[in-house]
């Protein structure tokens, strides 16, 4: 199953979105939150991101979903063939990715589902 890592400036924000996405995506989805700096303040910690990637990696690839600024830059440091960044809205992208990953879709399909969330209008 594809793993998902939510990377935010804010620890609580990443944790809450991870919780929401897990509830909507199903309990089996490997999801981890990597929010906030090492000391718990605002920012991003590459060590937390590295640990989160390791935690959710089941061998089928990992999708990183960053929110803004340093989260995006930190995520980019981890990009490789099986670790990809979804350039998507944080909440909508996380939920779409979690639902798709929960249906055991391959990495490309999970990424596509997340990216579809970008064009989804609320009204």
């Amino acid at each position: 199953m594809v793993g998902i890592v939510l990377i935010s400036h804010s620890g609580p924000l990443a944790a809450e979105v991870a919780l929401l996405a897990a509830q909507l995506g199903g309990a089996g989805v490997p999801l981890a939150a990597a929010g906030g700096a090492e000391d718990g303040g605002l920012g991003t910690s590459p060590d937390l991101v590295a640990a989160a990637i390791e935690e959710v990696d089941r061998g089928d690839g990992v999708i990183l979903i960053p929110d803004l600024g340093s989260s995006v830059l930190t995520a980019r440091l981890f990009e490789e063939e099986r670790v990809v960044i979804a350039d998507v809205p944080f909440v909508e992208g996380a939920i779409a990715a979690a639902v798709s990953a929960g249906a055991d879709s391959p990495l490309e399909a999970v990424l596509a589902a997340a990216e579809e969330a970008r064009t989804f209008r609320k009204l």
Binding site: E38, G69, S70, L73, T74, R76
Partner: protein, 217 residues
Amino acid sequence: MATGFEMDTAFFAAWIEESARSVAAGKERLTDLDAAIGDADHGSNLDRGFTAVVRALAVKEPDTPAALLTVVGTTLIRKVGGASGPLYGTAFREMGRALGDLGDTAEVSPGELCAALEAGLAGVRRLGSAAEGDKTMVDALAPAVRALRRALEEGSEPREAAAAAAAAAREGAEATIPMRARRGRASYLGERSVGHEDPGAASTALILTALHTVAAR
């Protein structure tokens, strides 16, 4: 500089120490600049990163300039916390990688330093997707690297070339004042980002000035 033309590991260590000292001394100014258009943590974040770098180098100084710059970059990425961590970290790691690719020798020529800085700049531009004129550190780093290259091609002594690079970085930082930000938090301010020096360009000017300070010793 040992011979006046070669830069050894101790030279790079001295550059980093001088950068750390300048960042510590300029911490409040950087944070004030960041308070105007950013989230008011650039000075404290960068100071935390460079303090960690100095501590890491004190434990065990790497054997080569390439290894040293890689430690600097990796430590900045891990310890800064804000957007400047990945950016400066990538700049120093790319410099280390470029010097390593040249053979990872214990001494670096001015031309090799310039090539390494060019690699660092390319890394920053790639990571941040920023171009000159976006009101970022690229607006100080790019002209500095160009000035260094030009001075060396014109046959300047290394310290004169470093002086030209430092001056170009400071001018580049000042030139960000009238710019409208197109990257980062400041970009959301639109026209209100105009009239403030970019904090990342300002810290880049400090680091290039530190290079000149050490080269002129």
